[in-house]
Symmetry: C2
Subunit: 301 residues, 2 copies
């Protein structure tokens, strides 16, 4: 082994992926299992890494991409914990602490979307960009903002799914289903909102169903706001809802329409197909991003 | 002189301020004059700095905070130019180039709001913060996003005034006056929109006029989106409209109401009065920020 290997964990609300390796071309072992209680789930993750340690030696670090909300601030007493999640048994659960104790290596810990963004920056659709957004549209909507290859944290971490949007109730009387904000982006455009509005799961709607024009409308309104707020060099859209390939051209067209020529950049005006793109790593951005994060931690960054 | 002095220019659409010094406590000379044609205006600025050179020697650098849109990218062929402004004679005018040529010193060039944000970070209400927003609400609405003391540029520069907002036309039938987006934030909440909606200049409306509740509503909706997008550690609100002191408590109350407890940070939930604040440098943020920018340039950053 010429290169030190690292571990990555992608902890989702329903399943956990654990892997070891050095990058997309060198994933040496991988496992996935359901997210049950913290004790059981963490126990299985630790067992996997202990087994790899027998084969490859101790990893340089382990990165964790977790569902949230969570505390990603290494200086905070609750660092490494999932905080106010509604998921049973997981509110205030310490995820990073027991793993660090059991493995005795440095641990990185951040939101799934920040880490997926990091993966896209390192090996995917946003390599080397100084400013971009990774957004996932699935059962929820979340995103990471990466500036110079580092996820933006600020007070806590961004919650891109909860921006307020125009809502024309005559055209779309649906109230939205965000328990906090009703008709914010997530309330109007996450997978469950599509399903509730149209009376069947989003994945069962045909590609020419009017649901997709409306979905593209809300996504484009949000992207307009993100573009005005951050001037990102690219926007990467992942998640289950974006697996509907007809959405990309619709979203791009509406973003151009809603910006209406105001942002005078050829990247937007002339190259929108390269500006709003799917993830280069597909659904591997999370676990590979956790590798990238572990490598940064191991390098002391 | 133990400290090298710098020059600062705040170039607004109606007037220009030029100053030399090292910081808020050491402004050695200052002048202001109307913004007329580029040639005349730049000529007067150069004459001022030449005069200071006779007294203090050559400045280490000169920072320019300019109205926009503009090109702040030092690697671009149009760096230093105001670009697509509707202001007569100024579209595609080179502002930084002739000043650099005449003075023979390094020149910094960025948007007025980015530079004002830099001033607030260096000496004002956002000292040392790793992530904050400076927003100005006046004849237009613009803002700077500063991460680790550097203005975010991305593709061009942020245009925080042009985010899309909820607009309940039953409660507020006003169409908005942004020529690009109609009822975006600037279209609904900049000074001229207030004046047009209520039929008299904003500055003449009494403090208990319903205009201010509505103004606070739109500003709070925008701040909710900015908070979700960036998780800033503080938001500084400047500009002529914010000189209505009754607006600050209204905006703070509505931001708490619209976020509805979702962002679990004591900075917001318990200390909103220190979270949404006026500029520490008042209306001096622009020209002092230009000092700060010149000092960064002189230090090679």
């Amino acid at each position: 082994m010429t290169e030190e290997y690292v571990g990555g964990i992608e902890a989702g609300g329903t399943k956990i992926v654990c892997a070891v390796g050095t990058g997309p071309e060198d994933v040496r072992a991988e496992t996935r299992f359901p997210t049950t209680t913290p004790v059981e789930t963490i126990g299985r993750a630790v067992a996997f890494f202990k087994e790899q340690e027998l084969r490859f030696g101790r990893p340089a670090a382990v990165g964790i991409a977790s569902f949230g909300p969570l505390d990603p601030n290494p200086a905070s007493p609750t660092f490494g914990m999932v905080t106010s999640t509604p998921k049973p048994n997981w509110a205030n659960a310490d995820l990073a602490g027991p793993i660090r104790e059991a493995l005795g290596v440095p641990i990185g810990f951040d939101t799934d979307v920040n880490i997926a963004g990091l993966g896209e920056w390192r090996w995917g659709a946003a390599q080397g960009l100084s400013n971009f957004i990774y957004l996932t549209i699935g059962t929820g909507i979340g995103g990471g903002v990466l500036i110079d290859g580092k996820p933006v944290h600020g007070l806590v971490h961004p919650e891109l799914g909860h921006v307020a949007l125009p809502h024309d109730r005559t055209a779309d009387p649906y109230d939205g289903r965000c328990p906090y904000h009703g008709d914010c982006l997530e309330g109007m455009a996450a997978g469950p909102a599509i399903g509730e509005r149209w009376g069947k799961p989003a994945a069962e709607l045909s590609p020419d169903h009017p649901a997709w024009e409306l979905e593209a409308h809300y996504l484009a309104l949000a992207l307009q706001s993100f573009i005005c707020t951050l001037s990102p060099e690219r926007i990467v859209l992942g998640g289950g809802v974006m697996e509907q390939p007809q959405l990309f051209p619709m979203v791009r067209r509406k973003v151009l329409e809603y910006l209406n020529g105001y942002v005078q950049s050829p990247a937007i005006l002339d190259h929108i197909d390269d500006y709003i793109v799917p993830p280069g790593l597909g659904n591997r951005a999370g676990v590979l991003g956790a590798f990238a994060q572990a490598q940064l931690i191991a390098a002391g960054q």
